[in-house]
């Protein structure tokens, strides 16, 4: 089942590539139609997923026995929402790419291959194939930015590639070291996550390995100060590239920290709480402050990602039920709202061929529907209760206070800053009288564009008001990660930090 989740996009890419280049009108629509298949399959997996801890739909085939490599796939409450999000965003991103004329076939093929790689990362339970997917993603993304991006696309693409490849090189060394340690301790090489979690690592080695993994993931997130590839990549990438970059690729970093750093190096993770927490909070505040004065809408949204992703990292390393669940659900939330914001900026760019805030003003007059969607997503991003962003941030903040009170309070200032940068941008772009003639008769959203945004808007509301659609499935897996960390490191989580405590005290209260 899970193998098919990876194979379907690959097959789709092959089918699209077989269509002759001169039939260019077919490529995109065929790509979108085929991209719905993995979405449907992911939807089925989501529906069939039992809300219990542990991996489900496990597939485990020995691939290369001498090196202990297995085709091991599985899904739990942490990866499940990300897989569904990925399969949802790909057809939407393709649907937003009608303005791409140049080498359209390749574009669709690369996007579908990218999807396969992203799903592979989330499903892999063997570190070798995880790494293969993790690196494989860089190639289609490199081309998407480098071929279909805007003016400085080559610079941005090379920067993106080298920056992230540099991080992964250290992680690869770490993975190999783990496999050999397994050989030492258990007599055979193994790359299986479950095997490597049983290793008994000396604390010094564990810290070095933690750092190697954490650096790779921190660049992906990105955490301050290794974030500067992101604004460039986002600004130069075509809309689909930005959507998938923000929606999914950044989450590979936060997902990796949660899945691999916490599981493989629990003691080092507990030791690193302050480093990771401070970097996260610096990112929250710094990203937001820098976003305020960005002259370019895409750069503004890009820096807002640096800020929002900080909440996820903070939640990951706060080690309480609330914060952990908040981190996982915020992965999804940020993908939806920031993905939608990039879609919206892209739609504006198609009309005006600029993203500079100063070029706009008063466009709510001619584009009321567009303005409505933008404001809706902006408020979701600001963390307005009732919309999805709030659920994640509030869980993280309230949860993190029990263990990291100072950091949680500083992080909370991010909610004020978010209101400043987004509402100020909204004011300058949408309100007032449209003075520039080219802003006076802009076409409002077409049916196709509304159809791309509407599902995301619906999810924003559903998750905001009834987050249990996800939290039910997330909670047991998040608890399992916490249990593992507690067991391995002897960490004591203070009282209202654990889910069980909450239910007990709540019960007493009533």
């Amino acid at each position: 089942m899970l193998t098919w989740l990876i194979l379907l996009p690959v097959l789709a890419a092959i089918i699209v590539s077989l269509v002759p280049s001169r039939r260019s009108e077919l490529h995109l629509s065929l790509g979108i139609a085929l991209a719905v298949l993995p979405l449907a399959l992911a939807g089925y997996v989501f529906w069939a997923f039992e809300p219990v801890s542990g991996y489900q739909f496990i597939e485990d085939v020995t691939w290369y026995a001498p090196w202990g490599i297995g085709w091991t796939l599985g899904i739990d409450g942490i990866s499940l929402p990300m897989v569904v999000l990925t399969t949802l965003l790909v057809p939407i991103a393709l649907g937003a790419s009608t303005s791409i004329e140049k080498r359209r076939k390749e574009f669709v093929v690369y996007t579908l291959l990218l999807e396969a790689g992203m799903i592979g990362v989330f499903l892999a339970l063997d570190l070798f194939i995880f790494f293969v997917f993790f690196e494989a993603i860089l190639i289609p993304m490199y081309f998407i930015i480098g071929i279909w991006g805007s003016d400085r696309r080559v610079y941005a693409a090379v920067k993106f590639f080298i920056y992230t490849a540099f991080g992964s090189a250290l992680m690869l060394a770490g993975i190999i070291a783990l496999a050999f340690t397994h050989a030492e301790q258990f007599g055979s090489l193994s790359f299986a996550l479950s095997d490597l979690m049983r290793l008994d690592l000396p604390i010094g080695a564990e810290r070095w390995l933690f750092a190697a993994f954490a650096l790779a993931f921190a660049i992906k997130v990105p955490l301050f100060p290794v974030h500067t590839w992101l604004p460039d990549a986002h600004t130069e990438a075509p809309t689909a590239g930005s959507v998938l970059l923000a929606g999914v690729l950044l989450k590979l970093g936060t997902y990796g920290l949660l899945r691999f750093n916490l599981s493989l190096f629990p003691e080092a993770s507990v030791d690193a709480v302050w480093i990771m927490g401070i970097l996260a909070v610096v990112g929250i505040v710094y990203g937001a402050v820098v976003a305020i004065v960005q002259p370019d809408l895409k750069r503004l949204v890009a820096y807002s990602s640096v800020s929002h992703l900080g909440f996820i990292v903070l939640g990951t390393f706060a080690f309480t039920s609330g914060a952990m669940q908040g981190a996982v659900i915020q992965n999804v939330n940020h993908g939806i709202t920031t993905g939608a914001l990039f879609l919206l900026v892209g739609m504006l760019y198609e009309r005006r061929h600029t993203k500079l805030i100063s070029e706009f003003g008063g466009i709510q007059k001619s584009m009321p529907v567009f303005a409505g969607f933008f404001l809706f997503m902006a408020f979701a991003s600001i963390g307005l209760p009732g919309l999805n962003g709030f659920v994640g941030e509030f869980l993280v903040l309230i949860g993190a206070y029990a263990t990291l009170p100072v950091l949680a309070v500083i992080a909370a200032s991010g909610v004020v800053l978010a209101a400043i940068y987004l509402l100020w941008a909204y004011e300058r772009v949408f309100t007032g009288v449209p003075e520039k003639p080219e802003n006076q008769n802009l076409a409002d959203l077409s049916t196709r564009e509304v159809a791309l945004l509407a599902p995301l808007a619906a999810l924003v509301l559903v998750i905001g008001l009834y987050p249990n659609v996800l939290l039910d499935k997330i909670a047991p897996s998040a608890e399992a990660v916490l249990d593992h960390v507690v067991e391995a490191s002897g960490l004591v989580i203070p009282e209202p930090g654990r889910l069980a405590d909450v239910f007990v005290t709540d019960g007493e209260g009533e």
Partner: protein
């Protein structure tokens, strides 16, 4: 009926949802009547569900709707008790009248249905806030109210001032919300839940007074943002950029009372900290007199009312800070009546004067619009504290309670008394400037009384402003008995006992009110040269009041401008040259190093890939050799 109490929120919410998607297909008045029906229905449900409390003996029930964020004990649940019932009745009752008024006021606006969408959404948000059974859901309503305020202040989005005011309101509110949010973190960490029932019953046992002080002060920060207290009040006067019904509904009768409600609802926490109580009361009294002095010198008819609202909210804070919760809620209710009336009356005047808001260009409107003039006159007397109108009873109860508590509160009582004098002065000044004297209108303006759909709500509110205070007089404490079950865990502060003390204290505040009103009447019921001379006699104070002490300028210079400069420095002098510069510099070093290896620098990614693979193999071999 209590099981159906969710309808109180659901009806206006459904109205908003329907109008959002189908509103543009409705003809003009229909959308307005539909929205009014939604909130009117909500009022009926609330009234029926409140019957058990009127009969007495009921403590209230929690109605659980669905789980929201179980990990922090947050669910969607309604607490239907006397306090929430009263708040719901005020919101829906006054709200309905304002909805109806807006049908006339917004006539001809091209986004007519959109306006009512937002009004209904606002009502639903405010009702969520007051009916919430836990702090998380309260926060939901709290923020949604802020959203609606943003949408409604900026409703005429082509006006740059309106858009800026909307943004300012939301951001200043958010600063307050930060305090509330940190307070909630403390609450959750202490109690492991955010549910009222769980917290209040255990507060006495589990909360140290230090923690209670911290929580109380953090809640005060949030309350000061939403209820426009010093130093976060600056958004409210600007909020007058919205259409006038919005000013009446949000910025007078309902939204701004949220902070008062928060403190009253959290009475069990404030009970444990005298420091927090005194701080709340002091902030309230300071706000009351500060804003009242600014209101003295305003020329814009709505700005007078805006600062008046800030000032009156100060009274409510003084009350709840003195633990006279019933008095605070009582004043909240009467103020909703007469301030809504004043704003709607002002709207009626502005409507008649072709959007003129400068009172110096009005005058002599009594004959042109008698209904508006008389009803506004009643509201003026009510807010000035003239017996037996509504404002007298509630304001007097607040002042009496502060007096009775003594100590520092005696000082606050005097501040309140002076404020009462100022209030009577600026309100009478307004009424005289607008309705008496010679017409000072610009040419071409032909004032006329507003249509029935606008005057009818004025009349109803005038009746409430006259008789609304009789619900809680020293002779019959109906409201107190009604609210008692909601405050049974705390000790309530009361005015002094006995007829003699009542007459003495009431006499003092009535005297203050009469003196202020008489002074204003004498000063302003003259030719404009004379009263301009009167105002000039107060220079330079008058100028400072008129400019609202220049607080906006100070904030701009001290906070906004340096903040922006810091952000620019971070973005353009740090992030790009230093952080990114380091990365690119590192890249350049490697490129220069690579110059000698030019032959392998082919520029093809596949070659780099091959090199990468080769490098990896080397590492593997090295590790194998090392491991073996």
């Amino acid at each position: 009926m209590t099981e159906l109490v969710w309808l109180v929120i659901a009806l206006p919410l459904a109205g908003a949802g329907f109008l959002h998607f189908a509103g543009k297909y409705l003809r003009e008045p229909l959308a307005g009547w539909l929205a009014s029906a939604a909130i009117g229905g909500s009022f009926v449900v609330a009234a029926v569900a409140a019957v058990p409390f009127i009969q007495g003996g009921e403590h209230g029930t929690a109605v659980s709707l669905w789980d929201w964020m179980p990990a922090i004990g947050a669910s969607m649940e309604i607490l239907w008790d006397p306090l929430s019932a009263l708040m719901a009745l005020v919101v829906t009752g006054v709200g309905s009248l304002i909805h109806i008024f807006a049908i006339g006021y917004m006539h001809g606006d091209e986004r007519f249905h959109r306006f009512f969408t937002y009004l209904n959404l606002f009502a639903a948000s405010m009702l969520t806030l007051v009916l919430a059974g836990n702090y998380a859901m309260l926060f939901l309503g709290w923020e949604l109210v802020g959203l609606c305020s943003y949408l409604l202040i900026g409703f005429w989005f082509t006006r740059p001032t309106a858009a800026a005011a909307a943004k300012k309101a939301f951001i200043v509110n958010r600063i307050g919300d930060l305090g509330l949010m940190v307070g909630l973190m403390l609450v959750f960490t202490t109690f492991g839940t955010l549910s009222y029932t769980g917290i209040f019953e255990r507060a006495g046992d589990e909360l140290t007074s230090g923690l209670a002080t911290a929580i109380g002060l953090l809640f005060l920060v949030g309350a000061a943002g939403k209820s426009a207290q010093v130093p976060l009040y600056v958004w409210l006067p600007d909020a007058m950029e919205g259409p006038t019904p919005v000013s009446a509904l949000i910025h007078a009768a309902t939204m701004v009372t949220a902070g008062v409600y928060l403190v009253a609802r959290s009475a069990s926490i404030f009970e444990l900290s005298t420091v927090a109580q005194v701080t709340v009361a002091t902030v309230g009294a300071a706000t009351a007199i500060w804003a009242a002095s600014i209101a003295l010198a305003q020329r814009d008819i709505k700005r007078v009312l805006a600062y008046s609202t800030v000032s009156q909210l100060g009274y409510m804070f003084l009350a709840v800070g003195a633990t006279a919760y019933v008095a605070g809620i009582f004043h909240l209710m009467t103020h909703a009546f007469f301030k809504a009336l004043l704003f709607l009356g002002a709207g009626s005047v502005i409507h008649a004067m072709n959007d003129e808001q400068d009172m110096y260009k009005m005058g002599g409107l009594l004959k042109k619009m008698p209904v508006t003039a008389v009803t506004m006159g009643i509201a003026t007397l009510a807010i000035a504290g003239i017996p037996p109108l509504a404002g007298f009873w509630s304001k007097d109860e607040i002042l009496g309670s502060a007096f009775e508590r003594g100590g520092w509160f005696s000082v606050l009582w005097i501040v309140g008394l002076v404020t009462a004098l100022l209030t009577a002065f600026y309100m009478t000044r307004q009424w005289v400037l607008v309705f008496l004297g010679q017409p000072r209108w610009d040419e071409g303006i032909e004032p006329h009384e507003s249509p029935r759909v606008m005057t009818a709500p004025l009349v109803i509110l005038a009746v409430l402003s006259v008789f609304g205070g009789l619900i809680n007089t020293p002779l019959r404490l109906t409201l107190e008995h009604f609210l008692e079950p909601a405050f049974e865990l705390v000790k309530l502060q009361h005015p002094p006992e006995g007829v003699g003390m009542f007459i003495l204290l009431a006499g003092l505040s009535v005297l203050a009110g009469l003196a202020g009103a008489a002074a204003a009447y004498l000063a302003y019921n003259r030719s404009s040269d004379e009263w301009r001379g009167f105002e000039g006699g107060f220079e330079p104070l008058w100028g400072a009041w008129e400019k609202a002490y220049g607080v906006d300028d100070i904030y701009g210079r001290v906070i906004v401008a340096p903040g922006k400069r810091a952000a620019e420095a971070a973005a353009f002098q740090f992030d790009i040259p230093i952080i990114d510069g380091a990365v690119n510099g590192l890249g350049r070093v490697f490129r220069d190093l690579g110059e000698w290896a030019r032959p392998i620098q082919t520029g093809y990614v596949r070659n780099y890939g091959a090199l990468f693979l080769a490098g990896t193999i080397v590492v593997v071999i090295w590790l194998v050799a090392g491991g073996a």
